[in-house]
């Protein structure tokens, strides 16, 4: 006989309906995609004991353990407890691990590139930022995707998220230490936006062209370019994949601090609550912003946010994307024979 | 700073002569008594400074023959009589004129290499250096590139002068072939009393000196003059150093046994 389940409750508990009747798959959160060897062994142990020994690495850097019988959910949740302690509670989430598994699954795992613990290009410790965001935002039920990337190379694909956070660096120039070798100017011209130009044997930075990648700092042989120790971020919003209107996220805030980023995402939760269409099973945040308009979104999420003086806010917002409905452009094979 | 070797002084341009399509001679008013083969640091405020060899000098003038190929030399090209340029020098060791006294002197010059040896030729022909005889082999790529053509005609009257261009061309009735071919024809008798000077492009100097050695000249009898990038002219900036030699202070004129062992 089939299990008698409260499907909505189960889903919220991070167990999903799968193809195989009476069997579920558990989504394990790994904030920032960073995990210790011991923790991964704990996940492996759950897969071995309750699943069929298989594990899937998700696109969001979590794990999915398939083929767990629904009847094992309580045992799985108990086994999950130490992991939740280490990956959620330790990062400051506002619930106690109580052998009942994940309290919510709406906000997806917060992913992050490897960041400056390893990568020379990274402008911040993305792992730490993702873990901090987990503590600040989890748990809640709204479907929100967040990723943190260490530099504008965007290895984690922040451009495909509801909130894509790009760590940027404000290069600061020591005029006297510059020997005019042009290494920074060349790298910026070749790899980036050409924000630097030479004048009188020195470098001029066009702040409006500078995307804060930090390549000039990496290239400078004398330490004339150094990083402003104050860290800054660019916040991209409302990118998405999906069946109706895939599009990339666009810059909403630039040169803002970590605090501003966190506050804006936190303020988005009540905004969703106010405007979400409850007649739908779930409405993605991007579609809500489409309905209310960018102006309403901007006003409401920036309310009571203390912006740092360097902060810049997008005046308007247009997302490059396409309507999946539109197949007027498509032609069958005989068209091309003509 | 009372004694600042970097401080240039102003010199008024008193004459400009076009030599070829790319080269011109600038004569400036400046008291000068130095050794043929030395050079000056020439500068224009806002443009920069570069070493330029002296192509002639007298008690109250210095001439620079300049090829307009860089920022500074192109800018100099725009200057007119009455304008002032800035110079400092003379720098380096010129030709060892004391060693040339009572000797036969062969000067092999290629292209713009004729400019730095011109004072040596002029002073030799004026009898100022006590040289026994002067022979000249002067080569240019083509007739268009010939520098100081009028003077060469005058020098030919007073010395054994070979003027050659690399390849035959219409309207040219003079000699042709690389300078090395003319060195080959040089009489081998009495080489003991000969001193040879070779100045020109790097490759021309390399093959000409080799030819002179083949001819039977001892390396010690050959003198060359080097041209390198320099920022200071006084042994500080490091640009012209080759091995332990600073071209600016140890050269630009170097004895061949020394020069031949220098690898950039």
């Amino acid at each position: 006989m089939s299990a008698d389940l409260n499907r909505k409750k189960v889903t919220k508990n991070a167990f999903r309906i799968t193809k195989r009747r009476n069997h579920t798959a558990l989504r394990v959160r790994v904030p920032g995609g960073h995990i210790t060897a011991e923790q991964i062994a704990m996940i492996a142990d759950i897969a071995r004991r309750f699943g069929d020994g298989n594990m899937h690495i998700t696109t969001r850097q979590g794990f999915e353990i398939p083929n767990i019988p629904f009847e094992k959910m309580a045992e799985v949740n108990a086994a999950l407890n130490p992991l939740i302690e280490e990956l959620q509670v330790a990062n400051g989430v506002s619930f106690a691990a109580s052998n009942s598994g994940y309290p919510a699954a709406g906000m997806r795992n917060i992913s992050a590139c490897i960041g400056n613990r390893v990568c020379p290009f990274a402008n911040t410790d993305t792992t730490a930022f993702a873990q901090k965001l987990e503590g600040q935002l989890f748990p809640h039920d709204f479907h929100v995707k967040i990723a943190v990337t260490g530099c504008p190379n965007d290895c984690i694909k922040a451009h495909m998220q509801d909130f894509g956070i790009i760590a940027i660096c404000e290069p600061q120039y020591d005029y006297d230490a510059c020997i005019g070798c042009e290494a920074c100017e060349k790298v910026c011209k070749r790899k980036v936006t050409g924000a630097l130009s030479m004048k009188n044997g020195k470098v001029i930075r066009d702040a409006r062209r500078c995307i804060g990648c930090g390549e000039c700092v990496l290239a400078c042989p004398t330490g004339a370019w150094t990083r402003n120790p104050q860290k800054f971020y660019r916040l991209l919003i409302m990118g998405r994949t999906g069946k109706r209107n895939p599009r990339i996220a666009m810059p909403f805030l630039n040169w803002v601090t970590e605090e501003v980023v966190i506050q804006v995402i936190r303020n988005t939760i009540p905004y969703i609550d106010r405007y979400i269409l409850r007649c739908l099973p779930k409405e993605h945040i991007g579609y809500i912003v489409d309905r209310t308009g960018y102006d309403v979104y901007r006003r409401e999420v920036l309310e009571n946010v203390k912006l740092n003086p360097e902060a810049k806010i997008a005046r308007t917002m247009q997302w490059p994307g396409y309507d999946t409905l539109n197949d007027a452009n498509m032609r069958s094979a005989d068209y091309w024979k003509g | 700073m009372i004694d600042n070797p970097y401080r240039p002084f102003a010199a008024e341009i008193i004459e400009l002569r076009r030599e070829t399509s790319a080269e011109f001679t600038m004569k400036v008013k400046a008291g000068a008594d130095f050794c043929p083969g030395q050079f000056f640091q020439v500068s224009l405020p806002k443009i920069g400074e570069a070493p330029i060899s002296v192509s002639s000098f007298g008690p109250d003038f210095i001439e620079f023959t300049i090829r307009a190929v860089g920022t500074l030399t192109n800018a100099l090209h725009e200057y007119r009589v009455g304008d002032r340029i800035f110079i400092r020098g003379p720098y380096g060791h010129g030709f060892p004129v004391d060693k040339f006294r009572d000797r036969d002197l062969l000067i092999v010059a290629g292209g713009s290499g004729l400019a730095p040896v011109r004072p040596l030729i002029q002073k030799s022909l004026a009898g100022e250096l006590g040289i026994r005889s002067l022979k000249l082999i002067i080569g240019f790529k083509n007739s268009e590139g010939i520098l100081f053509s009028q003077q060469i005609e005058e020098w030919a009257k007073k010395s054994d002068l070979t003027l050659t261009i690399d390849k035959a061309e219409p309207g040219w009735s003079g000699k042709t072939g690389l300078v090395t071919e003319h060195i080959k024809k040089f009489p081998k008798d009495n080489l003991k009393n000969l001193e040879a000077v070779v100045v020109g492009p790097t490759m021309m100097m390399k093959f000409s000196t080799a030819e002179l050695v083949l001819l039977g000249l001892k390396e010690e009898q050959i003198w060359v003059s080097f041209e390198r990038l320099m920022s200071c002219g006084i042994g500080k900036c490091g640009h012209c150093k080759i091995d332990y030699t600073y071209v600016c202070v140890d050269g630009p004129v170097l004895n061949y046994p020394h020069a031949s062992r220098l690898i950039d």
């Binding site: 400056n116 020379p120 990274a122 911040t124 410790d125 760590a167 660096c169 005029y175 006297d176 230490a177 510059c178 020997i179 005019g180 290494a183 009188n200 044997g201 020195k202 700092v217 990496l218 290239a219 400078c220 042989p221 004398t222 330490g223 990083r227 120790p229 | 004694d3 600042n4 970097y6 401080r7 240039p8 102003a10 500068s43 405020p45 806002k46 443009i47 920069g48 400074e49 570069a50 190929v69 860089g70 500074l72 002032r84 800035f86 390198r228 990038l229 920022s231 042994g235 500080k236 900036c237 490091g238 640009h239 150093k241 091995d243 332990y244 600073y246 600016c248 202070v249 690898i263 950039d264």
Partner: protein, 340 residues
Amino acid sequence: MNSYSLTRSNFKDIFDRLSAEYRLFGPKRLAGRGRFSDTDLITCDFLADIDELEFEEKSFMSPKSVVFPADETTFVFNEEEFKEPLMRDQREIIVFLRPCDINGFARLDKIFLENGDRVDPYYQRRRQKIHFFMIECSSSFENCFCVAMQSNHTDNYAVALRFDKESIEIQIRNDHFNRFFESFGTKSAFTPEFVKEDAVKVELPDNDEMPAEIFNHQMWSEYDQRCIACGRCNTSCVTCTCFSTVDIFYPDSRTCGERRRVWDGCHLDGFTEMAGGHSFRKNKGDRMRFKTLHKIYDFRKRFGFDMCVGCGRCDDVCPEYISFSSCINKLGSTLKGEKA
């Protein structure tokens, strides 16, 4: 020669008293300003406060900039004349540095004060104000090979300092500085120690004449591909003295500008480029050969001692992991006819 044992707070007081009369210069940690994010840059610069002095770690840049700044105005000009800029701060300068760097100054002196029989007045006017406060190296850092270069030791200092956990030991060689210390601390018998052995072993070729084959040897060609000509080995080197002259103009003036000299380096593009575009050392391997032989061979031929002091900064800073000490050893093997 007097020695004293000081507490940290003694030393702070002395530092402040010295600051009143001298400009203080030394290794300085710039938090969060390293090449990579969340790393620090340890540079050498003027110090406003004792807390700015980094006495534990090796600096990324050398102290040469105190006498040979990266960019120095040599003249202010208009169309009529060239004028030297004044040195605004006329105070004498105390430089905190390590033995290898003190020996490095002797190399700078050779070029700027002696070579070509001319004194460089810009260098001299700074150099004559310098007093060395030597930070003791009891053991060497990762890439140091000072012992091989015989620059691990020096007596050329006004004051030597040892920074212990609790106390600071000092020895005064220049009695002129006694007055700053005698009212603080207690007399001691401190004498500084010097590094006796480095982890990096370098065997110096002692050839008086470098065989011509070495100049064209294929051992250099590996650097054609490895070196990226960033110039860090030159800019971080305490003994690299090369510079280029540049004229700059004041944008709003028709007539006025400055002549400056700016650090250049044999690994950087354009270093040997003549007007018209010909370069004498286009290949990076040739540049590596040129630098190596200058540092450990031809400088000695001219001045009697090697230029390199084995501070190892070039190895610390090379983004391509080119090791200069390994290169010297490879040269040695090549000279001995071994396969490098």
